[in-house]
């Protein structure tokens, strides 16, 4: 049977306010609490404060680059990160994975596919949390 678990926390960091509004509508509510921020520095601060179970991160942000945000995140946590980027070259993808991305989705994206990828990462995060005995995947320190 479909059981209701405590909501998982998702943090979306993207420079595009329209995209953030879309992610709030599309990904929020289905057992997921979503917080959105539009800058790299504010994204890092929100990650500390909000302790998300999954981060969706753009590579182009108004202040820091998404790659820099990812590098700094990986200094403190192994929380799953899906990079959501308009760049579809293999160099960008390889770079993101080298920096510790768990998945890479290019824009424009298929909404059902993004949902499936988000929920696949959250499923893995839940298993980590159970195994490690922590309340939030963000606490799974690098």
């Amino acid at each position: 049977m479909a059981t209701r678990r405590p909501a998982m926390r998702l943090l979306a960091i993207d420079g595009d306010e329209v995209l953030l509004a879309l992610l709030r509508l599309a990904l929020g509510g289905d057992g997921v609490e979503i917080t959105t921020v539009s800058g790299g520095s504010s994204g890092l601060a929100s990650a500390e404060q909000y302790e998300p179970d999954l981060i969706v991160l753009d590579t182009v942000l108004p202040d820091l680059s998404g790659y820099e945000v990812l590098r700094r995140l990986r200094e403190r946590t192994d929380v799953p990160v899906i990079v959501l980027s308009g760049r579809d070259g293999h160099v960008d993808k390889v770079r993101a994975f080298e920096l510790g991305a768990d998945d890479y989705v290019t824009k424009p994206f298929s909404l059902p596919e993004l949902e499936a990828r988000v929920h696949a990462q959250l499923r893995r995060a839940r298993r980590w949390m159970r195994r490690e005995g922590v309340r939030r995947a963000y606490a799974y320190a690098a």
């Binding site: 479909a2 289905d30 824009k107």
Partner: protein
Amino acid sequence: MLTPTPREETGTIGLIVERRHLEARALAEFGDALAMAGWRLDVVVPDAESVYGIGADPPPWDLAMSRGRDLAGLGILATAAAAGIPALNSPAAIELVRNKIAMNATLLRHGVAVPATWFAHHPRLFERLDGSVFPLVVKPFDGDGSMGISLLERPQDAGLVSAPADGRRLFVAQTLLDTGGVDLKLYGIGRDIWAVRKPSPVAFDGPGPARIVAAGPSELIELDGAMREMAITCGQAFGLELFGVDVAVTPHGSMVIEVNDFPTYSAVPGAGEALAAHALRTARLHRFYRSVGKDRLRSLVRGAD
């Protein structure tokens, strides 16, 4: 489960529903949940006496939904969708599962296990099939529920199924699977999936038309990963968001017998509320899509317009 609604946000959902489904528990709960969220439900009951117009002003709906296979109802849904009203499920998705030939071909293409299936203009033509593939279950290609099901135990039984030989009908024959008289139903609302076990309403006393028996009690059972994967794959294969999957669990593995749009959700706790949450999410997404504009939307999302 319902996303909190800003006080000023409201809208109307059009529900086209056959009269026989009007009293369904899930639909009553659906209406209540919408009202609690501040949304209106406009119920349309298609009937055999009305004349419907195409091209008239579309109804002021944010979303159109259809429960049932009444052809006039599906026509109203198609008319609304053509006028730009988002539909849940879409007419194209419903048509794919209404036609059992298209349904089986689509399932096969997506690697879903289905019973061996044939189709022909008249049931008597199935006598040409090799005796080793019998017993077969025969049904109209566009049958709804348990309507018009017959059993052929051997090729000679093909004459037991009556049908006009007008070349305008089509019948499907499938290998009979031994399920021990128990059906497994997988119900889907978006990504939420439930599994329900219920006694089969179809009984065969021998070759010929089936006997439809009163539906026994349904039982919600634990959903495992394989069931979930099967249900999600079926929903995605047809582009259905409200769907049911009839599964035959046999000693040789599970096979999908049928996929249906907008099922009863019997024994699914909170089905009406889940339906409302999904409908509101869909309506809000489409309202957002319209506000963004097509070009901008295409730069973000594939297949949204």
